[in-house]
């Protein structure tokens, strides 16, 4: 038998990370459909997909390291780029939506940004 217990541990962690990542990404997609307005949908899209995609990438990194002996720098840089770009895109989408007049869904009209914009004019 060639598999040592370290390899078993690596396999288990790869499987767990892949399952966790797919579950989180699936939940993010469900959240995008279920949430009421664009801002709450952005919450689901940024947070959950960041963690989901990065744990899948970490699983791929461990797999390549254990099976093929490759230290894949591309995957690590991919995690970094996702962590940097997802909040930026969410910020830009949210700002663009607000500037083009999409009102956030609130019960008591708590929208400090709109008040500030009105005060400016």
């Amino acid at each position: 038998m060639t598999g040592t217990w370290i390899e078993l541990l690596a396999n288990i962690s790869i499987i767990l990370l892949l399952l966790f990542g797919s579950f989180i990404t699936l939940s993010a997609s469900i959240g995008i459909i279920r949430f009421p307005d664009i801002y709450t949908r952005l919450h689901a899209a940024t947070k959950a997909s960041t963690l989901g995609v990065s744990s899948i990438l970490i699983a791929a990194f461990i797999f390549l390291y254990v099976k093929e002996d490759i230290v894949s720098g591309k995957l690590l840089i991919g995690i970094l780029f996702i962590m940097v770009t997802a909040p930026v895109s969410a910020h830009m989408i949210g700002r663009a939506a607000h500037n083009s007049g999409v009102k956030p869904l609130t019960k008591n009209r708590t929208d400090a940004y709109e008040e500030a914009m009105q005060k400016q004019q």
Binding site: S27, T40, L105, D111
Partner: protein, 158 residues
């Protein structure tokens, strides 16, 4: 800080020449010797020892990962609640960090923390507008952002 790093790199390359092994491992060994030398000769080199700042950056990264995991848990809870009792809204957060980098970093951290998403920065760069999943917890989240993130960012960028 940049000056100290350059000195450290020079010491590392010197170490490679002196030990006559031009590999990555000897570069790392030289760099570790360089850190020790810079720490010892800190009195004669302008500026604070840069290792302190690197430790603080590391702490900030750990905080970031912790908050990312927590925020995912809260989003998951909301996704699988049959009828979520949430009240979204946008609130204003007065900023203490002034530099462009600091504000960018803070907006990133806020976007990846539980229940908050930065929407816009005011024209004078002094207020950040944040969309919250649950507007009732605003006081709590403002206090949390002020206490943990803004303090950490001020320590790193100063």
């Amino acid at each position: 800080m940049a000056f100290q790093i350059i000195i450290n790199l020079i010491i590392a390359i010197m170490w490679m020449f002196l030990s006559e092994s031009y590999t990555f491992a000897s570069f790392i060994a030289g760099y570790i010797w360089g850190i020790l030398l810079v720490l010892l000769l800190n009195r004669f080199i302008p500026g604070r020892f840069y290792g302190i700042r690197i430790v603080k950056i590391f702490k900030l990264i750990l905080l970031f990962v912790k908050e990312l995991l927590l925020s995912n848990l809260s989003i998951l809870k909301l996704v699988y609640t049959p009828k979520p009792e949430i009240e979204p809204g946008i609130f204003a957060l007065p900023l203490e960090v002034k530099s462009n980098w600091g504000i960018t970093l803070l907006a990133h951290l806020i976007s990846l923390t539980p229940g908050t998403l930065s929407v816009a920065v005011s024209d004078k760069n002094d207020v950040l507008y944040i969309h919250a999943m649950d507007i009732d917890e605003v006081d709590k989240s403002v206090k949390e952002i002020k206490d943990s993130f803004e303090k950490a960012i001020l320590e790193v960028t100063r």
